[in-house]
């Protein structure tokens, strides 16, 4: 039986494929990109732990052949924090969705970022709650539709990158399911950053977000990503009015600050003599 490319054979639980996601769902593209980034970095599979919460995005670790943990809604980062503190030698990667990460798990997100704990978070951002039937999420753009916003969403959307940046993440970037090669590089750099990294990976949801907002088929939604993403390096070349309808991709922040598990271990060293 043909079980796919070498990358798929090496990094996936192929017996679980094909995955559960809808035809044309961007999540499959993103999941492959994440594993390619891991493979490019030659990480020891036994030292990689992938953690997720609940939602379409969070099905990913079920297919990925690493140490994996599928947790409760919004709590992926809380579990990941525990894993990282217990075993700092692990590369902990969180795969989460826009709802899981910025609504239910919003509090965990800002505090993981504030602590600068060495976790790489990849947000599979499809602008909607797909699994539960198309409810609007914190990244559904204003005036767009969801099953819970039949007359249009009046909430202003979160910019996940600005949120992570403001909360203290040391690596922040945005990629898309169309710009895959760039996304792989961004994930690699995020994993290499010793500190909290967040990559906002724009996905496509033809089934709910697309259908509710008349965005066309998967192919049309991919073309939207292609035509409306502006690289952060090219932003200055565009007039403000043009940028209003676009979104910016690329690396926004790459800095170094003290890392949480390191700081915690320093405290342990400091008080060790008290327990002799």
């Amino acid at each position: 039986m043909n079980t796919g490319s070498q990358l798929i054979k090496n990094n996936f639980r192929v017996e679980k494929l094909p995955h559960i996601w809808c035809p044309g769902c961007g999540h499959g593209i993103l999941m492959r990109a994440v594993t390619e980034a891991i493979e490019n970095l030659n990480l020891d599979k036994k030292k990689v732990c992938i953690v997720s919460g609940i939602g379409c995005s969070s099905r990913a670790p079920g297919y990925m052949d690493f140490n994996t943990l599928h947790t409760t809604h919004g709590r992926a980062l809380a579990f990941a924090t525990g894993i990282k503190l217990a075993k700092p030698e692990l590369k902990v990667i969180v795969i989460t969705g826009d709802g899981d990460c910025t609504a239910i798990g919003g509090n965990h997100l800002i505090h993981a970022a504030r602590r600068n704990i060495d976790i790489t978070t990849i947000v599979f951002n499809n602008n909607i709650y797909g699994m539960t039937g198309g409810q609007y999420s914190p990244t559904t753009p204003k005036n767009e539709f969801g099953t819970t916003a039949p007359f249009g969403n009046i909430d202003k959307a979160f910019d996940v990158c600005k949120l992570a940046d403001g909360a203290g993440a040391t690596y922040v970037a945005r990629g898309t399911a169309y710009h895959v090669k760039q996304l792989i590089k961004l994930v690699e750099k995020g994993i290499n950053n010793k500190g909290f990294s967040l990559i906002d990976a724009i996905s496509i949801c033809p089934t709910y977000y697309g259908r509710k907002n008349k965005k066309g088929l998967a192919v049309d939604m991919m073309n939207y990503l292609k035509d409306n993403a502006v690289d952060v390096k090219a932003v200055k070349k565009f007039q403000k009015e043009i940028l209003e309808d676009k979104f910016v991709i690329g690396e926004f922040k790459n800095t170094t600050e003290p890392e949480y598990t390191d700081e915690y271990n320093k405290i342990l060293e400091k008080v060790k003599h008290l327990h002799k």
Partner: protein, 70 residues
């Protein structure tokens, strides 16, 4: 630029294909088409083995064999 690599072979797994058509849309050489909701290689001779179909296939149903992504 992508350089054609004749050592690689374009493969499909029909069973995994969900017929979304993303690979067809972004194939630079118009090699592919969707027939009866599954992927079909229409014009293998024109394939330059760029691998864009593999990168963007959400279902891993099309790929270049001999490409270990090294």
């Amino acid at each position: 630029m992508v350089i054609s690599n004749t050592d690689k072979e374009l493969k499909i797994i029909e069973k995994w294909c969900k017929g979304c058509g993303i690979c067809v849309e972004f194939c630079p050489k118009d090699v592919l088409e969707v027939l009866d909701e599954t992927i079909f290689i229409r014009d293998l001779e024109n394939c330059i083995k760029c691998g864009f179909c593999e990168l963007r296939c959400p279902d891993y149903a099309i790929y270049l064999e001999g490409d270990s992504n090294e």
